[in-house]
């Protein structure tokens, strides 16, 4: 399991290669990438700043990864979450799950994303054409997490 909270960008192919290194038993690799969108509601996004709680962020991402590994037959997984200043089109988060079976890989990646939205200590601030604001948490995201209970 590779967990990282980092300012730097990530490369998906390179991250997959890390998981595949020295093994030829993986049949299924699912990935999810979350990116900064240029529009949020009716506002144009100029910049996004991601604040995080160093130490606890990695710890919580790790907990989510372990929980996913306990629920699905995963071979390995990667969770990378960026922090700092990002522009529209920039990568925010990457989840990679590998398994012998595609359902496990897909479902675990969805689970990780749903949990990460509400449980990982990251906060988004948007700089828009109409001023700056902290993104409000969506109750919707709690619902999505709750479906895994």
């Amino acid at each position: 399991m590779r967990i990282s909270a980092q300012a730097e960008d990530f490369d998906i192919s390179a991250e997959i290669e890390l998981l595949k290194e020295n093994r030829t038993d993986l049949g299924a690799i699912a990935t999810f990438t979350g990116l900064v969108r240029d529009i949020h509601g009716d506002k144009q996004i100029k910049k996004m700043t991601l604040e995080h709680f160093p130490g606890m962020a990695e710890q919580e991402l790790g907990k989510i990864g372990f929980e996913a590994s306990a629920r699905w037959p995963l071979e390995d997984l990667t969770i990378i979450h960026r922090y700092g200043e990002l522009l529209p089109g920039d990568n925010i988060v990457l989840v990679i799950t590998t398994s012998h079976h595609r359902e496990a890989a897909f479902e675990a990646a969805q689970f990780i994303m749903d949990y990460l939205k509400t449980n990982a200590p990251f906060w988004k601030k948007e700089e828009t054409t109409e001023g700056d604001h902290w993104v409000a948490a969506k109750t919707d995201d709690d619902d999505k997490k709750d479906r895994w209970k």
Binding site: E51, F53, M56, V93, P121, F122, W134
Partner: protein, 83 residues
């Protein structure tokens, strides 16, 4: 006690961390928030909406009835919006 703040709560209070001496009678996270709210308008504004407060004691999420001591690190922040 070490306090750390993030995001809007950090901005409202105007600092990202501080050390305080835990007053007599403050033994839970809820009592701590009540105490901090008396320290000034900036704290009061930061903690006005109790449903928008999340707390971690020594990097573990806890509720408002969690015990706190002078040796704890208490982090206070709004609901998370990562992902």
């Amino acid at each position: 006690m070490n306090l750390v703040y993030f995001a809007l709560i950090r901005e409202n209070i105007g600092k990202s961390s501080q050390s305080i001496d835990l007053p007599e009678g403050v033994t839970t996270t809820g009592e701590l928030i009540d105490h901090l709210s008396t320290l000034g308008d900036n704290y009061n504004a930061a903690f006005a909406q109790s449903d928008l407060i999340r707390i971690a004691v020594n990097q573990e999420y806890v509720g408002l009835d969690h015990p706190v001591t002078d040796r704890d690190e208490v982090a206070i922040f709004p609901p998370m919006t990562g992902g």
